[in-house]
Amino acid sequence: MSLTRRQFGAISAATFMAGMPRASAQNAPIKIGAVNPYSGGMAQYGDEVTRGFELAVDWVNAQGGVIGRSVEIVRGNATSAQEGIAAVEQLVGRDKVDILVGTYVTAISNAASESALNYNKLYWETNALARDLTDRGLPNYARSGPSSNEFAKRSVEGALELVAAKLGKAPKDLKIWMEHEDSAYGTSIVKEQERLFKEAGLTTGIGSHSARAIDVTDSILRAKNANPDLWMSTAYVTDTNLLLRAARDQGFKPPAIMLLGVGDTVETLEALGKDFLEGILLVSYPRPDVNPKFGPGAADYLKAYRAKYSRDPIAPQSMNAFVGIKILYEAIKIAGSIEYEKVIKAAASLDKPLGTYEAGYGAKFDAKMQNSRALPVVAQWQGGAVKAVYPKEAAAEGVSIVNLPRS
């Protein structure tokens, strides 16, 4: 078969044109849609989590991107589950994002990830806590950060190993009271804590309250009556502050106090003051002050954060988000693709030991795609600052436990 010059030209042009978009898509930036609340009452932490994403983007772009492509973040505002679905539709439909990441709020993650599946997009979760999210077994979903179960686990370890030793008691002799706010968040964590304590042979007292309660003195009086060695609380910021104020007013002074998830920010410091907080334990995401051997590069992360935002991190959620995206890059590299099936498969093959990333995390996903090597730390208020104290390797040089039992 012979071609005329005109036919040859037409075919060549068509081939070139057909190849053009393909080549361009291969070199175009990978667009990551960051689903978080950026307005309303949860905006502060939505912004903070996304700062971690943005720093991870800067980090990878400075190294030439991932699989030869630079990375971009596009924000999708979602303050509720319904808005989470709409945000995904907008990010995929209008902004043409390739991957979705999130989220500070479990309910939003739940709805947005299902919506992402409708578009065959990966939903890479870094910060939402509820264990149920991974238990759903959604094929496009993985969580790089700790779940509520890891928070419960770390708190129980902290109680049995750290608190018992400091109080000079055998772990099984510890008297523990667990206070929690009565929504799914507080209830699920306490349920897991109760199971773990039971395994260790301990019976605990449990109290609950509404996060919207005007007064929680009754909860404090019930705990005070039980005379615990350790009072643990899982709640939100405002009710945590209210509980601590009621404890102060009622002269409730347990030898050890441990707060889960909150109580580690300036919001609690301003409310209670550094003297009252001295020695209070916190189960929290690892912070940039961790020992460099435990979390290599954490100091560099802090430097990058300060350089970009001209302030210190508001909360440790941002470093957890930063590390989460770095783990995502690893999975994309192995997959050589951004298709969710390939990325999930690649993530499942990751086997990075603890201490690989800034937060001290490793990467080893379980069958439900929960990273089993992402663990919170036990920190402590010391002189108005929060310092990691447990596990021992996480504590920075020169940091030791103070004021335990509390004076």
């Binding site: 009452g41 019930r222 919001e267």
Partner: protein, 296 residues
């Protein structure tokens, strides 16, 4: 016994908080016949006002009362004049307007603070008084004393001052008051201003107790409605007494039953009280008929 006395003290102090919040709400209802959903937001504004006064002028929240209360009186009067007065005669629309106001105020503060929780401490925040087996935070005691003083002062003002008598006259019969030469609209405006100012006072006095968020007003308003209904719609003394009924119910149910169940118990008491005495313990028969009195 000591335990029971302690629980009663907790209920009494909580009752003081509820009374302080509810007295302005009940005044507005009693005079203007508006169920003001935005009252909790006025308390919230009072708290943020105390915070702003601390930040800008270094004022203790108790001293901020001097700025916040008059400011909220003016705000209340302006809101009445600009929003509620044009809806006079549309009782349901006025209620919806106060709900709209709730959303506006909450979202404006949300936009300004981006949801950050703030706290404002007083020099008295950490002080407490011990009476026998009971330890009482001084800030809570001040709220209780203030609630009592406000109730007495408001009752005295309504009984003895000319403007107070005008308010009572308008509350009793708007048309007759109008015929007697009372400026009814002005009286409404002043009443709404006083109700708002009292919410501002509550906000200032409560600010050392709570970490403030834009949504905190909602937490106050639901029990406050129970207080005014139990105590008696439109009765200043009823709001005071209702506060203690609610406070005691919550404290006893919370301690002896379960803190998670205290609101369920409270609203069961509320429903029973409504069935037995629809006008509340100190209210007048018919006061519960919101908006049925002619407004035009």
């Amino acid at each position: 016994m000591a335990e029971f006395v302690n629980v009663l003290a907790v209920g009494l102090l909580l009752g003081g908080i509820y009374s302080l919040i509810s007295v302005g709400l009940n005044l507005i209802f009693g005079v203007i016949r508006i169920v003001n959903f935005a009252q909790g937001e006025f308390v919230m504004l009072g708290m943020y006002g105390a915070f702003a006064a601390k930040m800008a002028l270094g004022l203790d929240p108790y001293l901020a009362v001097g700025i916040v209360v008059p400011s909220l009186f003016v705000l209340g009067a302006v809101i009445y004049r600009m929003i509620l007065m044009p809806l006079q005669g549309e009782a349901m629309m006025q209620v919806f307007a106060t709900f709209g106001l709730l959303m506006v105020l909450q979202n404006v503060i949300l936009a300004l603070t981006r949801g950050t929780t703030y706290s404002v401490n007083s020099a008295l925040s950490t002080m407490s008084v011990t009476v026998g087996p009971v330890q009482i935070g001084l800030v809570r005691l001040i709220v209780l004393v203030a609630a009592t003083a406000v109730t007495i002062a408001l009752g005295w003002y309504l009984k003895t001052s000319l403007q107070g008598k005008a308010i009572r006259a308008v509350a009793q019969d708007r048309k007759a008051a109008l015929l007697m030469g009372i400026d009814v609209e002005r009286t409404y405006m002043i009443s709404f201003g006083i109700g708002t100012a009292l919410a501002g006072l509550a906000g200032c006095l409560l600010s050392p107790l709570y970490s403030m968020s834009p949504q905190i007003g909602i937490n106050f308003i639901m029990p406050a409605f129970a207080v005014v209904v139990l105590g008696g719609l439109g009765s200043v003394g009823g709001a005071y007494a209702g506060g203690f009924i609610v406070g005691m119910t919550e404290a006893i149910a919370g301690f002896y039953l379960d803190p998670a169940l205290k609101h369920a118990v409270l609203f069961m008491v509320f429903i029973v009280a409504l069935l037995v005495r629809p006008a509340g313990l100190f209210g007048h028969a018919g006061a519960q008929e919101v908006g049925l009195r002619e407004q035009s």
